[in-house]
Symmetry: C2
Subunit: 109 residues, 2 copies
DNA sequence: AAACAATACATCGGAACTCGAGGCATTGCA
DNA sequence: TGCAATGCCTCGAGTTCCGATGTATTGTTT
């Protein structure tokens, strides 16, 4: 049964920032939170998530500290002011674009 | 001012099929209709549109006939039954995914 | 008449996003 | 002992999209 993916390229950075706006977190936790809170609809893989986190840090959207907890290495990410600003902008952009698509797919003229 | 693109990878084929569900049309007209009906928010370029149309035809979602009108060559595309089915599926998928993102960006738990 | 925008098609290279596969290591449960 | 879950990472491949470029006609403006 043919169906387009609707990958929503570019939504992951925004979703990561949104997750971090609730407080510092680490990669694995961010991914599982997005999956859980979307009831499994949004399920980004590790090969996508970690590079995205690195890019966000490179661009100053998040900062990170590596910590050792219970034998496991965790890299905790924190939202920066710049990242918070980008989050707000991206939320508006999402509303703008998804609203437009809804208008077309919903049947508006 | 940093802001993520929200390219919405994969939405163009669905938008094309939706445009064709209103009747046969040609590439240039499909693009301008999407732009006009979305009030400029959705503005896919030619380098994106024409390859997408070719892929849709290759996959049997649309069929085309080349016609000469007023000196201009126009390739008219028509939605096939397969394309119509894919459109319905993709609409549901869009609601599923965009709804999930709305849930996260809107502040739901 | 010349210049230009709009219409109309197409292809190509590069950038960006995502996945799958693979690698490495620890904890905890069966 | 084996296996799932946790936790990090990288690499290659596929897909989408844009910008640039090319070709050609129509209609408007200067």
């Amino acid at each position: 049964m043919y169906c387009f993916f609707m990958n929503l390229k570019g939504s992951l950075p925004t979703l990561i920032l949104e997750a971090l706006s609730r407080g510092p977190s680490h990669g694995y936790e961010i991914a599982s939170n997005i999956k859980r809170r979307s009831r499994g609809v949004l399920d980004f893989k590790e090969g996508t998530l970690y590079p995205a986190l690195h890019t966000l840090e490179r661009d100053g959207m998040v900062s990170s500290t590596s910590e050792l907890e219970g034998g496991r290495t965790r890299r905790y990410y924190t939202l920066t002011d710049k990242g918070n600003l980008a989050l707000e902008k991206s939320k508006l952009e999402w509303q703008r674009v998804s609203g437009a698509i809804n208008g077309l797919l919903g049947g508006a003229t």
